[in-house]
Symmetry: C2
Subunit: 278 residues, 2 copies
């Protein structure tokens, strides 16, 4: 799934802003902290697809508002996504050596370094978002915290660890929290920052929920490996045919949520690109 | 250092609010997440002195404003303080088995559990603060993020790890970030939430900076152990007499910052209580 062909200007806008965030944060560098800053940027600038940041920016476009309104959110959701990957890869979690074809953060900077890099990126996220050029910045921070915290992503990770053999209901709950919540809030909080009305926010939140589910279903279909039946996923629980059917259904539901947004070409295209990767 | 004798009503107000935060956050409990919520409350409600929350509430009093204005900040700084202790105690950091006389979080809930508990508390902090009943909530979030993030506390921890034999300048930098920044922001962001003017915020920030330094100096004097000369601290670098002299000086400077606040009895008393513990 690459977004370069469809969203080159948006990705350039995002990338330029992301670099400015780190330049500002590290504006008075201490030589002793150089390695720490390297550990932050090593993972943040590592060929991520910028799926969640694009959703934030494309939501502004769908609402006919300048994408610049949502850049702080774009950075915040990517900072949180990156921290979660760093902490997930740690030896006490998934103990992974490789991420996006490079050694994982702790393989390069050590476990303590990776722990602090994750903590640092997570903490930065809220400070960046709080400076959004919108009277609703504090509301966006509250939404992001709920989506990423114990009731959202972190809770989903805890649920994943505690549930040895989840059934369909619990697996859905795990994914809605672990993956879905951050995808949904990338759209929902963008709408809030853009000053959307309650009806618009509601429709875009629904879009985000369905897209989050479609994203996880496509992930499971892509990762499906009949040689590893012990890994619980939608494909191992429901089979490939039923998982594909649900991917269709979630994708269509996401598209249906956008009927009243004539400028939502970008958000529609994101649904297609996710659908096409399986 | 106990605050019960001087600040019983304030501590009760704080405690009641803290319990309401966790009741609200865990309002739709899943049985599979019970252990995760236990891991959060295990460390958060574990006989902490509530030094930082008291500073927030007493700043409101010093400004003649209702302490309720600063309760979200009181919770946020304690959530961040608690997360930092959980992550600090992990095997890859200080590898401590005991904290406040109880087994550390990872000794009870495992390393992955403690990692997620810390991540969860940190994420909650910003969501709670974003809901402060003040038009300046977003500004307070930005201040807290800077104080706790790579330019503040997390940066101080990274600096501590990277600096094997710090001299006095570097040790001061480490402590200003690692300990001082969160103490200072407990006062500074409280003033911002209370709608203080620029002159008041400036004076209270200065108070917070000096108190943060006095706190660290008192900590080092309390922990001084001539049998462990390898641990770098102000006492090992400067000797006990000079460290005591600096504690006097920082305490006095903190008190001097409060001259224009007739209602700052509580903030003054905090300086004395810190001074008296050595």
């Amino acid at each position: 799934m690459s977004f370069q062909a469809d969203f080159k200007p948006e990705l350039e806008l995002i990338d330029t802003y992301f670099h400015s965030v780190f330049r500002y944060q590290n504006s008075c560098p201490l030589p002793e902290l150089e390695r720490f800053w390297q550990s932050l940027t090593y993972s943040f600038f590592s060929d991520g697809k910028r799926f969640r940041p694009l959703l934030a920016v494309l939501t502004a476009k769908a609402l006919g508002r300048p994408p610049e309104l949502t850049l702080t959110l774009a950075a915040a959701v990517e900072l949180i996504h990156t921290y979660s990957l760093i902490h997930d890869d740690l030896p006490c979690m998934d103990n992974d050596d490789l991420r996006r074809g490079k050694p994982t953060n702790h393989k390069v900077f050590g476990e303590a370094g990776a722990l602090l890099a994750g903590d640092g990126l997570l903490t930065m996220a809220f400070g960046v978002l709080a400076q959004a050029p919108s009277p609703n910045a504090a509301t966006a921070v509250a939404l992001l915290s709920t989506a990423a915290g114990p009731r959202g992503m972190v809770g989903g990770q805890a649920l994943d660890i505690e549930s040895a053999q989840p059934g369909e209901t619990l697996l859905t709950e795990i994914h809605q929290r672990k993956t879905g919540a951050l995808i949904r809030v990338s759209v929902e909080a963008a709408a809030v920052l853009c000053g959307a009305d309650a009806r618009e926010i509601d429709a875009l939140r629904t879009y985000g929920e369905h897209l989050g589910m479609a994203f996880q279903l496509a992930d499971d279909l892509q990762d499906h490996d009949p040689e590893k039946p012990e890994k619980i996923s939608f494909t191992s629980l429901l089979g490939i045919t039923e998982t594909l059917k649900r991917l269709e259904r979630s994708s269509q539901a996401a598209l249906d949520s956008l009927v009243s947004f004539p400028d939502a070409w970008g958000l529609r295209r994101m649904v297609q690109l996710n659908r096409e990767r399986v």
